[in-house]
Symmetry: C2
Subunit: 459 residues, 2 copies
């Protein structure tokens, strides 16, 4: 095979530096999840097709990767169907499994399947890849990791409070200043629709409102008119277009606007609980901002809606989102299981940290010292020291082949190994080591104890 | 949907405790890899079919999971082929991608594809799931993790030495005593075949010899006779059947036996280099044992062959293996790239640690303290303390709902949370906390500083 091999479009290889940086983000998130009492679960990469199909709409069904049955899969297709040569109809006969499309449906399936083993409220997190047969484009991949935390089995608003804190803790730990956690509530949106007499147009109304940032007030009004929302309703909506000020001011404005809607006022009370307690508890680097235009997958959410915006200086859009849903597991026959959850947009967070130069230098996780190979006896002497260094938790290695010193030094350079250690005749005779700082070029001859101490300090 | 949902056969859900235990093994291995200078890469879950097909033999091709093309996949199948209704022939027309079957072929593909970016020798590790359409049975899954470390681009035997050390470090870190690292060399096997005049029957000969443990001397001889190995040859083989003693004694016996075979003697020299240097360096808990019956995928290996046996008291077979291969990347057109690598059998290691009760108790990673929910004001008081505890790295959480204390205590119990904290009126008035040890039932009223100190010590 002479052709240089490649990988499928929309997929990626990750080199050691990229893996280290991705793990830095994953580990920061995992540690925070753990501090907040969340525990990990994992589900299989593929599910039975009937677990996934029909859960993401028609478009979603199309984007799910299907796995071909093993063996003589065509033998199960009857002649009549086969003759039609219809790809859609034949799919369910030749494919019984499909790759995970998100983590939410497999989680719902998990909760229902294991309901008798689970202690509710169940605080779980899950960080696993998902696959979508989307058209690949910049920043959109066919294989990517999702990173979700959810609590199911409790309606307590303290959880909504905790998720705001959790976002703040993660982004503060990553050193990311200027993150905005935007908060809304489905009940507010329903309340507004009710107030302006457009309950039946809730979706059209919120889809248009969600675009305020992008298309401006006039654009939103134009779209609403096209969708049949009355001029009268638009007048009542007017306050939303100039919705400014502190969270308290916004809450007051909403109270005036939604006084007649019981559902709307419930939404206001919920928002108020969250903002008030977050005020008392304080945030580190992020800020919490009520945003009544926020809709995100409205059909799904029934209470709080979150979206996290990257710092204004990077042009990245949302780096996280989530909300409360009252019927996660209903699709699998388990009713009345309220849940609330959030997710992190890993690939975008990676790009933001890269752009702002926020990855710590130590992340790359390379060896601390490369021992130069001068031959068999010298190497054994080196290996004895390397063994002790590793036992002390210091990453060290021997260049495997005897050869030109220049080549070995250049290897250390290319791999960003900060120190080399020379163990020639002279060093062995003195039971010592020559330690070279690859950046400064400085060299010093030391005993093992000093070597370990020195490399340990800089490890 | 009333039917309780399930997952495809041969796949698994992992609950929080299982994930924690698996991660304990993964993390121990990763830290060791890192100490030895290995760096992680990751490759996509699916590859182009032509990258995988034809690399694992006919049986392997059958066991590879194929992904159905998106869209109207049948439109690309011409009428003539379609009419044949032949599953095997049609597969390559309706499926262009396939799930990873192991980590070795994707690694070879990675090395060839990225050869200009890689600094050789390249020490990489990779821990990712693989998929095989095998018939599921006890301990054999359709989705499982592989865990490989390889060095490519050097023929130095120090790498063989290091892999013995690496196995020893990992299993010692896991507290697993009595592990045997079995070592052989393909050149020894070739040398023996040469010596007994059965070069043309090398595979048959080694496949039979590999069964010595299972079917005994007479069984092996019977199989060899059936494969056409002469009585004369069997006589020459006799020393192998009573091959006992120390590694040095075995090396001496091999030197006598293989004196006439240049290749065989090369194998002896290689084995000797490894055992001699391991003797000088010493191992922690594992032992290294020359085993000339060891063959493992002989066609693949060209030098050292490793296999790791679990401690004798558990009936588990091999928990790791590997060896040197001289032409890993040749299948993708890059010649003369020697490599050596090992892998860890994660699922079996898990079972061994479970059977021997070697998982540390702290692995489960549950919260250190559950704060009981007495109502909104009490909860805010609790949340302020929880926030400070988390900032100090202590895992703590509030029970989200106000409710019966018994229910909340039972929740802590079920989740194995070792402490509960009570913040009622009395505690708030005294600016204090009542800390309850869930195991002993002991309670004490403390100030925040003591609370943090106490929970921190036991975290």
């Amino acid at each position: 095979m002479a052709k240089k091999p490649s990988i499928p479009k929309g997929t990626r290889d990750f080199n050691p530096e990229e893996v280290a940086r991705r793990n830095y983000i994953f580990n920061t998130i995992k540690e925070t999840f753990s501090l907040y009492g969340f525990q990990p679960i994992e589900t299989p990469s593929f599910e039975n097709s009937d677990t996934l199909m029909g859960k993401y709409g028609e478009e979603g069904d199309r984007l799910i990767f299907k796995i071909l049955n093993s063996g003589d899969f065509l033998s199960k297709v009857d002649e009549k169907l086969y003759t039609e040569k219809n790809s859609i109809k034949i799919t369910s006969r030749i494919s019984e499994k499909a790759l995970r499309y998100d983590l939410t449906v497999p989680f719902a399936r998990y909760v229902v399947q294991h309901q008798n083993e689970i202690t509710f409220p169940f605080k779980r997190y899950q960080i696993q890849p998902v696959w979508r047969a989307d058209r690949p484009q910049k920043g959109r991949f066919r294989e990517f990791f999702q990173c979700d935390a959810d609590v199911v089995g409790s309606t307590s608003l303290w959880q909504e409070v905790e998720f705001v804190q959790l976002y703040d803790t993660v982004f503060s730990s990553l050193g990311l200043k200027g993150v905005t956690i935007k908060l809304n509530n489905r009940k507010i949106l329903s309340g507004i629709a009710e107030t302006i007499g457009a309950e039946d147009k809730l979706i059209d109304f919120t889809v248009a409102l969600d675009k305020l940032d992008k298309i401006g007030e006039e654009g939103v009004k134009k779209e609403m008119r096209e969708k049949g929302i009355s001029e009268d309703a638009l007048v009542k909506l007017q306050p939303l277009f100039s919705f400014k000020g502190s969270n308290d001011e916004k809450l007051n404005a909403l109270k005036n606007m939604l006084a007649a809607s019981q559902l709307g006022m419930k939404g206001v009370t919920e928002l108020e609980f969250i903002t008030k307690n977050i005020n008392s508890l304080g945030l580190q680097m992020a800020s919490l901002k009520i945003d009544v235009t926020l809709a995100r997958g409205l059909n799904y959410y029934t209470g709080a809606i979150y979206e996290v915006a990257a710092p204004a200086e990077v042009n990245m859009g949302s780096i996280g989102g989530g909300g409360r849903y009252d019927d996660l597991t209903g699709i699998f026959g388990l009713k009345n299981m309220s849940g609330v959850g959030i997710s992190f947009g890993l690939d975008r967070i990676y790009l933001v940290l890269e752009e702002l130069n926020l990855f710590p230098e130590t992340v790359s996780n390379t060896s601390q010292a490369l021992f130069i190979n001068f031959g068999e006896q010298e190497s054994l002497y080196a290996m004895k020291a390397i063994k002790k260094l590793r036992e002390a938790g210091i990453k060290a290695e021997l260049f495997p082949d005897e050869g030109k010193m220049g080549k070995q030094m250049s290897y250390a350079d290319k791999r960003n190994i900060p120190f080399t250690v020379l163990t020639g005749e002279k060093e062995i005779a003195a039971n010592s080591f020559t330690l070279k700082n690859m950046k400064s070029g400085e060299q010093m001859q030391v005993q093992y104890t000093e070597l370990e101490k020195y490399l340990g300090q800089t490890n």
